[in-house]
């Protein structure tokens, strides 16, 4: 596929459309990157606490696991809203 042999152009943005596209590309990356910090910390904390709960009381492991998945779904939704913003701005 010739796609990989094409050189990526590095001319600075000239027209207002180019400036807008360049700004959109960089800010779209920022948008998703910043949006992924909070849910990353949240999900890590949540899974850590549920592993601890499952180790303390192995009989409750099934219920803890179910609640863990529910909590992961809620916090991951925030990261995915950031991904949708990335799609809307950047592509």
């Amino acid at each position: 596929m010739e796609a990989f042999s094409r050189l990526v152009g590095t001319t600075p943005p000239q027209t207002p459309d180019d400036v807008k596209a360049a700004a959109a590309a960089s800010s779209a990356g920022f948008a998703y990157g910043l949006a992924a910090i909070g849910p990353g910390i949240g999900i890590g904390y949540l899974v850590g606490k549920s592993v601890e709960a499952m180790a303390r009381q192995p009989e409750a492991a099934g219920m803890v696991r179910t609640t863990m998945f529910l909590g992961i779904a809620f916090t991951e939704a925030l990261a995915l809203i950031g991904f949708v913003v990335f799609i809307l701005i950047g592509l």
Binding site: M1, F4, S5, T66, L70, E76, L80, I81, L91
Partner: protein, 257 residues
């Protein structure tokens, strides 16, 4: 400097019409409905009094899964009559997510926003409807002002709860399902294009042609991951629907009983 030229997003997500106003996404949704209904209709014809075998076994596994892991965890025994609704939601969403990794379709039907949006609007209507039916007019009072809120804070809490329950719930259901499937699809497309481009590169041949095995391994791993994500997103949609209906059935707990 070399870069991969990724096609425009429309080429990855939009499909041609097979016949007017019916494209591949609609075909996948129709097949999901037909296969899902066929499993249960065929299983219903078999004898229910002997040990299940074959397709009846499959249907019973699915019904038990929804009863044990979705309904009993969130609504308890009185929620068991919601099993058909939750089972249909789960089977339809799962059968729409799975074509993302099947070789000829390779597109999850839930990666366009129409199907998740419609399903979450349906769930929204259902949970507000059951709340109004079970608690008559006092439903909105119990929803917006949970018991124990001091009178001075009532306006603020009312606004917050209104947005959180009536506006954010359907939106978050939609976005969670849609963005998970879209992100998975875009990742699979990226690694597939990258590994093909590296295998067939004409410059820097030894390095790129052999190095193309690395994105290929990532593609294999992501395909396996998409199996898990498709199932998990269908399960989470079903269990959140059960939670919302459960809160409509009982209110906030201490007025009805």
């Amino acid at each position: 400097m070399l870069g991969l030229e990724f096609p425009k997003i429309n080429e990855v997500l939009r499909w041609q019409d097979i016949f007017p106003s019916f494209n591949k996404i609609a075909l996948i949704a129709v097949l999901a409905t037909i296969i899902g209904s066929a499993i249960f209709l065929l299983a219903g014809r078999k004898d229910g009094s002997v040990a299940p075998k074959g397709i009846r076994n499959l249907a019973e596994i699915m019904v038990e899964f929804i009863e044990e892991s979705v309904v009993m965890q969130t609504m308890g025994k009185k929620g068991l009559k919601w099993t058909p609704f939750l089972l249909s939601l789960f089977v339809f969403i799962y059968l729409c997510n799975v074509p993302g990794i099947i070789p000829i379709f390779q597109m999850p039907a839930t990666a366009r926003i129409a199907i998740p949006l419609f399903l979450s609007v349906l769930v929204w209507i259902v949970f507000i409807g059951t709340g109004l039916k079970h608690q008559k007019g006092a439903y909105f009072g119990h929803l917006l002002w949970p018991p124990g809120v001091p009178v001075a804070l009532k306006p603020l809490v009312g606004v917050i709860e209104f947005f959180s329950t009536i506006i954010v719930r359907p939106l978050s259901l939609t976005v969670r399902l849609f963005a998970n499937m879209l992100a998975g699809h875009i990742l699979l497309v990226t690694f597939a294009l990258l590994s093909e481009a590296m295998f067939q590169a004409e410059t820097n041949q030894p390095f790129l042609n052999i190095g193309g095995i690395l994105p290929f391994f990532m593609l294999v791993f992501l395909t396996g991951f998409e199996v898990l994500v498709g199932f998990l997103q269908a399960y989470i949609f079903a269990i959140l629907t059960a939670v919302y209906i459960g809160t409509s059935l009982e209110g906030h707990g201490d007025e009805a009983h």
